[in-house]
């Protein structure tokens, strides 16, 4: 009996792994391969090797675009890292009040499309902005507008990395240092910074990559200041020049892959520094320090809220800046570009399907990779496919999808222009982060459940559905929430894939801005934020009540 189950377990497992492998290859690997290949051919289909790159890099215009991209990415990183570091430091090392509130509010940018801060900055510092005078003779349309918008967009991503890095400092080190008479500055320089070193490197790289690959902010506020990401958009959408788009896309892939590689190395090293006798640092009260940190953090959070608030306010203002009476007419999306209210409902649909299928796929994939003891090469391949999307900018993925699916000879051609392709692309785009969350959770669940079930002859999927899934419910909900919110806000990958009957809210923001209906663009962006906040609160509520129930059951 036992061997029967073990064998059939193996067969089912192998079947599942092959299915997953094929599915993930189609969703992630083949589109990428396709774009790489395209970058070595002319638009007529002749193989030219590296010619496309050599020719492209030989143009004066491309060099300026590269320079522009590097400039905004470096400056944004230099600005956002210290701010996020101090903010994270305040959250973990001070006793300022309202810490949980600050922590939640700091994540607001994650819930809005990257176009929103750009729109807000136009309203704040544009030629008709409230605070135009702050800009002096400068203009918001250009590098400084981009940099400000990117700082808003990148802040929570960087903050999360720094929070986890700073929480790794061992409290015992501080006690020893203090007893040896080391002052607070010396302790900061010799303990805090070194222990957060790897986190800082990660944060810097992530910030750089996010900025250089983002096109939402520069599209709205960049004016005539072109960057690589907007150039891909211009070439592909504006000129339908796909092979040049592929060439620039592959160039954008380079910093992402370097970042990804370094990040993997850094994470491995970071783990090694964690000893088993680790003691969590608990901050002590220090009125002056806490006050300074409190003021700083309130300032940051206030800024984030103002940036969000400006778009919301502008979306109700009748005729900016001449008539600020409040009206709803900018929410009449049906007479605007971008697909009208349908776009919003399409986005909800996309978010729902992405959350549903994405969560199932991610969780099964993580479970199999973590808990299978056979077919190790297939396991390795799955793991590679699961981590790969992290290294791929959304625009590159989207372009790869066009090449892979819009080929009239491709068997998947029928998917082109459908909602399904948007769902697949969005799942692939945000796969890695969810996958890492799932793996972390599964690792925490004792693998003896599987060993016991196996020896009792229970099929592994019974164990999976009856034990693993119920225990992991909070983390599963978190993955679903993550997929949902990102599907609502994403623009970069789907911008190449939507069709007239699958227009999306986030893209409507872009199209309405292009047509000059900036108030309606602000309105749609606000609607996306409100929806994301609502969904987040819902998921947190459900998760909370489930955890509460299971605890009640435990108390019995």
């Amino acid at each position: 009996m036992r061997s029967f189950w073990s064998d059939s377990n193996k067969i089912v497992m192998a079947f599942l792994m092959v299915c997953l492998f094929l599915l993930l290859s189609g969703m992630i690997f083949l589109p990428l391969l396709e774009i790489l290949q395209k970058s070595f051919y002319t638009s007529l289909g002749d193989f030219v090797g590296l010619d496309n790159f050599i020719r492209y890099l030989g143009e004066e215009k491309s060099l300026r675009l590269i320079q522009n991209s590097l400039f905004v990415s470096i400056v944004s990183t230099l600005i956002v890292i210290p701010i996020a570091f101090v903010f994270a430091y305040a959250l973990l090392r001070s006793c300022m009040p309202f810490k949980p509130l600050f922590r939640y509010l700091a994540l607001i940018p994650l819930l809005s499309p990257s176009l929103l801060p750009a729109i807000s900055f136009v309203y704040l510092f544009g030629n008709q902005g409230f605070l135009k005078s702050w800009m002096g003779d400068g203009s918001i349309y250009g590098p400084w507008g981009i940099i400000m918008g990117e700082c808003f967009y990148v802040f929570p991503h960087v903050l999360m990395i720094l929070l986890s890095a700073l929480s790794l400092s061992d409290a015992r080190l501080y006690e020893v240092a203090e007893s040896m008479g080391a002052g607070s500055i010396k302790r900061f320089l010799t303990i805090t910074l070194p222990s957060a070193k790897y986190g800082l490197i990660s944060a810097i790289l992530v910030s750089f990559t996010l900025v250089i690959t983002d096109f939402g902010v520069p599209k709205v506020i960049g004016g005539d200041f072109g960057v690589l990401a907007t150039e891909i958009y211009k070439q592909v959408i504006g000129q339908q020049n796909f092979s040049l788009g592929a060439t620039i896309g592959v160039l954008l892939l380079i910093p992402s892959i370097i970042t990804f590689g370094i990040d993997r190395v850094v994470q491995r090293k970071q783990k090694a520094t964690l000893g088993s006798k680790f003691v969590l640092y608990r901050p002590k009260k220090s009125p002056l320090f806490d006050a300074i940190m409190g003021v700083f953090s309130s300032g940051v959070v206030l800024l984030l809220l103002i940036i969000l608030g400006v778009s919301v306010f502008a979306s109700f203002a009748k005729f900016w800046p001449y008539d600020l009476s409040l009206v709803l007419k900018h929410y009449d999306f049906d007479s605007m570009d971008g697909g009208g209210w349908n776009s919003y409902f399409n986005s909800l649909q996309l978010a729902f399907w992405t959350a549903l299928y994405g969560t199932i796929l991610v969780f099964i994939c993580a479970y199999i990779v973590e808990r299978t003891k056979v077919f190790s090469w297939l396991k390795g391949a799955l793991k590679f496919l699961a981590l790969l999307p992290m290294a791929v900018p959304g625009m590159v993925l989207g372009l790869g999808y066009i090449f892979f699916f819009n080929n009239p000879h491709s068997p998947f051609n029928g998917l082109y222009q459908s909602m399904a392709i948007l769902v697949m692309c969005t799942i692939a785009h945000f796969f890695t982060t969810s996958y890492i969350t799932a793996v972390t959770t599964i690792k925490q669940i004792d693998s003896e459940f599987e060993d016991v079930s196996d020896s009792m002859g229970v099929a592994f999927y019974h164990t999976f559905l009856r034990v693993t899934v119920p225990i992991a419910i909070p983390s599963i909900l978190e993955i679903a929430r993550y997929f949902f919110v990102n599907a609502m806000t994403t623009v970069s990958a789907v911008v190449f894939l939507y069709s007239p009957h699958t227009t999306l809210a986030s893209l409507a923001v872009l199209n309405m801005d292009d047509a000059g209906d900036i108030s309606s663009a602000a309105a749609m962006a606000s609607l996306i934020v409100v929806t994301s906040i609502g969904v987040t609160l819902c998921f947190n509520g459900i998760s909370h009540s489930i955890v509460k129930k299971t605890q009640k059951w435990r108390k019995g």
């Binding site: 203009s139 800046p321 549903l356 299928y357 909602m419």
Partner: protein, 338 residues
């Protein structure tokens, strides 16, 4: 349970294959979104069983899309898109000639001269400058009356115009300048104008909307958007430059190779017919259908006489070269503006 999960996953793959039972037609258009809706309602009354799928974008993008899909056309009909672009498509052998029912009612100037014609015009749209009077007062800007005026140093950084690569309105301005000033002087004019441009926009509407909001006080746009913004209460004066106005036709054609030829013909008959033309006449001062043009608020009665000479064949043939030159001069050399 397991198979259920798998079928869910594969289910998504099938999600896209929604089938439409009715006659359906894919129409590419560069008409303004706020026009498309009432137009289509009228079409629905005539042909309630035809489902029209609209792909709307700026002229340059619709054109580029059609050219890129040459081998495997996705559109059945191109509607309300620049005649220059349609001539270009025709030169590429991509249009199906068809004489719509009311062809004899169409002004001969505003249709393809061949019989049957490859395309038929709907209405004329042309350049207009939106000038924000409130901001002008604040910034002491005089009202420009000519294209030449726009190059005065006082307007430095105050003007927005559409990028001719993406916008049909931008392109008709550029060709008009090359016609008015001659090729060499035309580019010199644009060099000077470039010094005053605050931003090149994606669409032809955006400059006027930006001028209406005072974001940039002067927007080079087109008369429909200008008149509409003014009617909605924007504090703008509309300037029709005295050297003459660039213009193009919004025109309609059937794409060669369409699988829905009969349905496409029905659509084109409506789009070039009296009912639709009456609707065009509410938005545009000059329509191709004879006898329907009427005076429009904020557009002068002698509008048609202000239009410059236009040669669609020349514009179409030189489109690529003009855009390349434009991009070389103003996209690759422009430093970020202060």
């Amino acid at each position: 349970m397991l198979t259920k999960g798998l079928s869910l996953i594969t289910g998504v793959l099938l999600l896209g294959g929604t089938v439409f039972a009715k006659e359906s037609l894919t129409v590419y258009t560069a008409l303004e979104t706020d026009q498309v809706k009432p137009y289509l309602e009228s079409f629905k009354k005539v042909e309630p069983d035809i489902e029209v799928k609209i792909v709307r974008d700026s002229t340059g993008i619709v054109t580029a899309k059609l050219l890129a899909e040459k081998a495997n056309p996705q559109a059945d009909v191109v509607w309300g898109t620049a005649a220059t672009s349609l001539v270009l498509l025709e030169q590429n052998g991509m249009l199906e000639a068809y004489a719509p029912k009311s062809l004899d009612k169409i002004d001969a100037k505003y249709r393809d001269s061949k019989n049957p014609p490859a395309w038929v015009g709907n209405d004329i749209w042309g350049s207009a400058i939106c000038f924000n009077e409130v901001e002008a007062k604040k910034q002491n800007l005089p009202l420009p009356t000519s294209w030449e005026d726009l190059t005065k140093p006082i307007y430095k950084g105050k003007i927005v115009m559409p990028n001719p690569a993406s916008s049909g309105t931008g392109f008709l301005d550029v060709t008009a300048w090359l016609k008015i000033f001659g090729e060499k002087k035309g580019w010199e004019y644009m060099d000077k104008l470039h010094e005053n441009i605050g931003q090149y926009t994606h669409s032809g509407s955006k400059p006027c909307k930006m001028a209406a909001a005072g974001e940039f006080p002067i927007g080079i746009s087109f008369e429909y958007r200008a008149a509409k913004s003014k009617k909605e209460g924007a504090p703008i004066a509309i300037v029709y430059p005295k050297e003459g106005l660039g213009w193009d036709l919004e025109a309609t054609a059937i794409v060669k190779g369409t699988k829905n030829l009969e349905t496409a013909k029905k659509f084109v008959n409506w789009a070039t017919g009296e009912e639709a033309s009456k609707l065009y006449a509410q938005n545009f001062a000059v329509v191709a259908y004879k006898g329907l043009s009427q005076k429009i608020e904020h557009i002068p009665a002698n509008y048609e006489s202000m239009l410059v000479e236009n040669d669609f064949a020349w514009s179409a043939k030189n489109r690529e070269a003009i855009l390349k030159e434009w991009s070389k001069r103003y996209e690759s050399k422009s430093e970020p503006k202060k």
